[in-house]
C-alpha cells in the first residue's frame, strides 16, 4: 500500500458514450493542498464526486484513506469535508442549526457539536449571524458557512469544488484567507477551480485537466517554468490587424499565441522584447508585460484559454 491519502490509477467514469474522466492517475499526500485546474466540463467535479464516495467509478483503482469508496462509502465519507459547487444549506434553518444538524449526520454528540459551533462561527466570521436564517445571508456568507459546516467533523480531507465561483473579489479574498489558515493547520485540501489565481494561491501541487485527461502535473511554479517563459508581452494592434502582424513578430518571440483580441509573445524578458519590436518600427496600440501564469500553461497545453 502507498502512504498517500488518495491513490488513483486509471480512474475512469463514463456516462453512456461520454467519457467524463478518462483513465487518470494521481496521488495526494497528507497535509498537501492539491488542485484540479481545468475549464468547465474537464471532469474535475466528476473526479471530486468519485473521491467523495457519492459517484461510482466505471473502472480503475481508487483508495481513499486506504479504503475503496465502492465498498466503504459511509466509512470514507465520515472523514471527508465536502464543499460542493452549489451550496446546499438548509435555508429555513439558522446558521447554528445548519452546523448542528450536519454534525448529527456524522453521529457526533450534541455536546461535542455545541462546543464546536462557536469555534466554527468564529472561523467563518459569522458569530453575529448565528441565529439568522440562512435565507438572509449573502453569497459569500453562505459559502463560508458551507465550509464551516464541512469542518464540524474535523475531516482528514477537505474537498472544495469551485469554492469561489460566483463571489465578488472581496468575498473571494476573505475565503482564500480562511482556506490558507486551514492549510497552515495541516488540513489536506482538494480543490477544483477554473481560476488560475486561485490555483496559484492555494495549491502546493495541481493537475491540469482537459476533456477528462491529465495534461500536466506539478507545483504551480514548476508548471509555469516547464510550459511557459518567465514573462509574457501582450500586444494589441486592433482586431483586423492582429493576424497580419503575427508573421512579422513570430521570429522575435520564443513562442506566440494569437487570441481574438490580442497577441501573446512569450519571452524571458518582456521589456527587452518590446524594445526590439519598437526598433523595427512596429508600434502596437497597447502593450503590457506580465509574468507567466497558469493561464499560459493551459493555453500551451490545450491551445484554448481556461475561461471561455
Amino acid at each position: 500500500m502507498t502512504k498517500s491519502l488518495i491513490h488513483a490509477r486509471g480512474l475512469t467514469k463514463t456516462y453512456g458514450d461520454f467519457v467524463a474522466v478518462d483513465g487518470i492517475d494521481f496521488d495526494v499526500a497528507k497535509g498537501e493542498s492539491f488542485g484540479f485546474l481545468g475549464p468547465n466540463g474537464a471532469g474535475k467535479s466528476t473526479t471530486m464526486r468519485i473521491i467523495g464516495a457519492t459517484s461510482v467509478r466505471t473502472s480503475g483503482t481508487l483508495t481513499i484513506l486506504g479504503k475503496d469508496p465502492e465498498v466503504n462509502g459511509p466509512q470514507i465519507r465520515a472523514h471527508l469535508g465536502v464543499v460542493p459547487q452549489q451550496d446546499n444549506l438548509d435555508v429555513e434553518l439558522t446558521v447554528s442549526e445548519n452546523i448542528f444538524i450536519y454534525g448529527r449526520y456524522f453521529g457526533l454528540s450534541s455536546s461535542f457539536i455545541n462546543k464546536k459551533i462557536p469555534e466554527l462561527l468564529e472561523f467563518a466570521q459569522l458569530e453575529e449571524k448565528k441565529d439568522t436564517k440562512v435565507q438572509a445571508l449573502s453569497g459569500g456568507m453562505k459559502r463560508r458557512l458551507t465550509i464551516a459546516r464541512s469542518l464540524v467533523s474535523e475531516p482528514d480531507i477537505l474537498m472544495l469544488d469551485e469554492p469561489t465561483t460566483g463571489l465578488d473579489p472581496q468575498a473571494r479574498h476573505i475565503l482564500w484567507d480562511r482556506l490558507f489558515r486551514l492549510k497552515e493547520q495541516g488540513v489536506t485540501l482538494l480543490i477544483t477551480t477554473h481560476y488560475m489565481d486561485e490555483a496559484e494561491q492555494l495549491c502546493d501541487r495541481l493537475i491540469v485537466m482537459d476533456k477528462g485527461k491529465i495534461m500536466a502535473e506539478n507545483s504551480p511554479a514548476q508548471l509555469i517554468k516547464d510550459y511557459s517563459t518567465k514573462e509574457v508581452l501582450e500586444v494589441r494592434f486592433g482586431s483586423d490587424k492582429n493576424h497580419e502582424m503575427v508573421e512579422i513578430l513570430r521570429p522575435l518571440a520564443e513562442r506566440i499565441e494569437v487570441l481574438p483580441d490580442r497577441i501573446l509573445l512569450y519571452a524571458e524578458d518582456g521589456e527587452h522584447l518590446l524594445e526590439q519590436i519598437a526598433a523595427k518600427g512596429i508600434h502596437p496600440n497597447t502593450s503590457l508585460v506580465r509574468r507567466s501564469s497558469l493561464e499560459d500553461v493551459f493555453l500551451r497545453l490545450t491551445g484554448r484559454s481556461l475561461v471561455e
Binding site: 457519492t54 465520515a78 442549526e97 448529527r104 449526520y105 457526533l108 461535542f112 474535523e154
Partner: protein
C-alpha cells in the same frame, strides 16, 4: 478529536434526517397548527352540519349520524393530504430547489436513510394533524362510540400508504412543471370524491367503484368505519384493506430507496 461514530450513524441516521425535517417544520408550526384546526372546522360546519342535518332527518347512514359516518373518511383524508405535502415538497427541495439531500449524502448518511427519515418526519407531522382533527371531530359530536379513537390509527395507515407512494413519485420528478397540478387535480380531488367519503361506495355504479378500490382513502375509511361503529365489513374484505395499504407502504418505500439512491449517485 472528533468522535465520529459510524455505527451510530448507521443505526440512528434516519432519525437525524427526520430531526432536521422536524426542525424545519417547527419554523412553520403556527401555520401547520392553524391549518390543522381550520381545515376540519370548515368541513364539519359546511358538510357535517349542513348536509348532515338533511341526511340525519332521513335516519342517517348505516343507522348512525352522518357525522359519525363521515368522521373516519375526513380524518383519513386529512392524513393523506398532510403526509403527501410533507413528502412531496421536501423531496423537491432536497433534490432540486435547495439540494439539501446532496449535502446529507456527503456525510455517512445513506440515500435510504434520507428517504426513510423524510417519511418518518412526515408521519410525525401527520400524527399531530390527525390528533387535532380528531379533537375537532369530538367537539362536533362526530365521535359517539367508545372505539371512536381507533379512527386515528386507521387514518395514519392511509397517510403512511400515500406518503410512501408519493415519496417514490416525487423522487422521480426532475421537472416539476405539471407535477403539482396533476397531483392536486387528478389524484387528490378525484380520490376525495370517489372513495366513499361522503356516501357508501356501493351507491356508485360498479365501474366507478373501481376508483375507490385503488384509493388508500377508501381502504382506510372502510377500516375506520369498521373500528368506530357497527359498520359491516367481512373478514376477507378487511384483510384486503390491510393488505392493499401495507403493500402501498412496502412498494412505495422500496421504490423510493432505489430512486433516491440512483439520483444521489450520479
Amino acid at each position: 478529536m472528533s468522535t465520529i461514530n459510524i455505527r451510530k450513524v448507521s443505526r440512528f441516521g434516519t432519525l437525524h434526517v427526520a430531526e432536521a425535517r422536524i426542525r424545519n417544520m417547527a419554523k412553520w408550526a403556527g401555520i401547520i397548527f392553524f391549518a390543522a384546526v381550520i381545515n376540519p372546522t370548515l368541513y364539519l360546519v359546511s358538510i357535517g352540519i349542513g348536509v348532515g342535518s338533511l341526511i340525519d332527518a332521513n335516519k342517517g347512514v348505516d343507522g348512525v349520524s352522518y357525522l359519525t359516518f363521515l368522521a373516519p373518511a375526513l380524518l383519513a383524508s386529512a392524513a393523506i393530504q398532510g403526509s403527501s405535502d410533507e413528502v412531496i415538497f421536501p423531496t423537491m427541495a432536497g433534490f432540486k430547489w435547495e439540494r439539501t439531500f446532496f449535502g446529507m449524502r456527503s456525510t455517512p448518511i445513506t440515500a435510504r436513510q434520507i428517504s426513510l427519515g423524510l417519511f418518518i418526519a412526515a408521519m410525525v407531522r401527520t400524527s399531530v394533524s390527525v390528533v387535532i382533527y380528531w379533537i375537532a371531530l369530538y367537539y362536533f359530536g362526530a365521535l359517539e362510540s367508545s372505539t371512536a379513537w381507533l379512527a386515528m390509527p386507521a387514518a395514519l395507515f392511509a397517510g403512511a400508504a400515500m406518503a410512501a407512494v408519493m415519496l417514490a413519485l416525487a423522487g422521480k420528478i426532475e421537472k416539476e412543471d405539471f407535477f403539482f397540478t396533476i397531483v392536486g387535480r387528478f389524484i387528490m380531488i378525484p380520490m376525495f370524491l370517489f372513495s366513499g367519503t361522503f356516501y357508501p361506495l356501493s351507491q356508485m355504479p360498479i365501474f366507478l367503484q373501481f376508483f375507490g378500490w385503488l384509493s388508500p382513502l377508501w381502504h382506510a375509511t372502510e377500516i375506520g368505519r369498521y373500528l368506530t361503529y357497527d359498520y359491516p365489513v367481512s373478514g376477507p374484505a378487511l384483510f384486503m384493506h390491510f393488505f392493499v395499504l401495507s403493500a402501498m407502504i412496502f412498494i412505495g418505500l422500496t421504490a423510493s430507496f432505489r430512486i433516491f439512491a440512483a439520483r444521489l449517485e450520479k
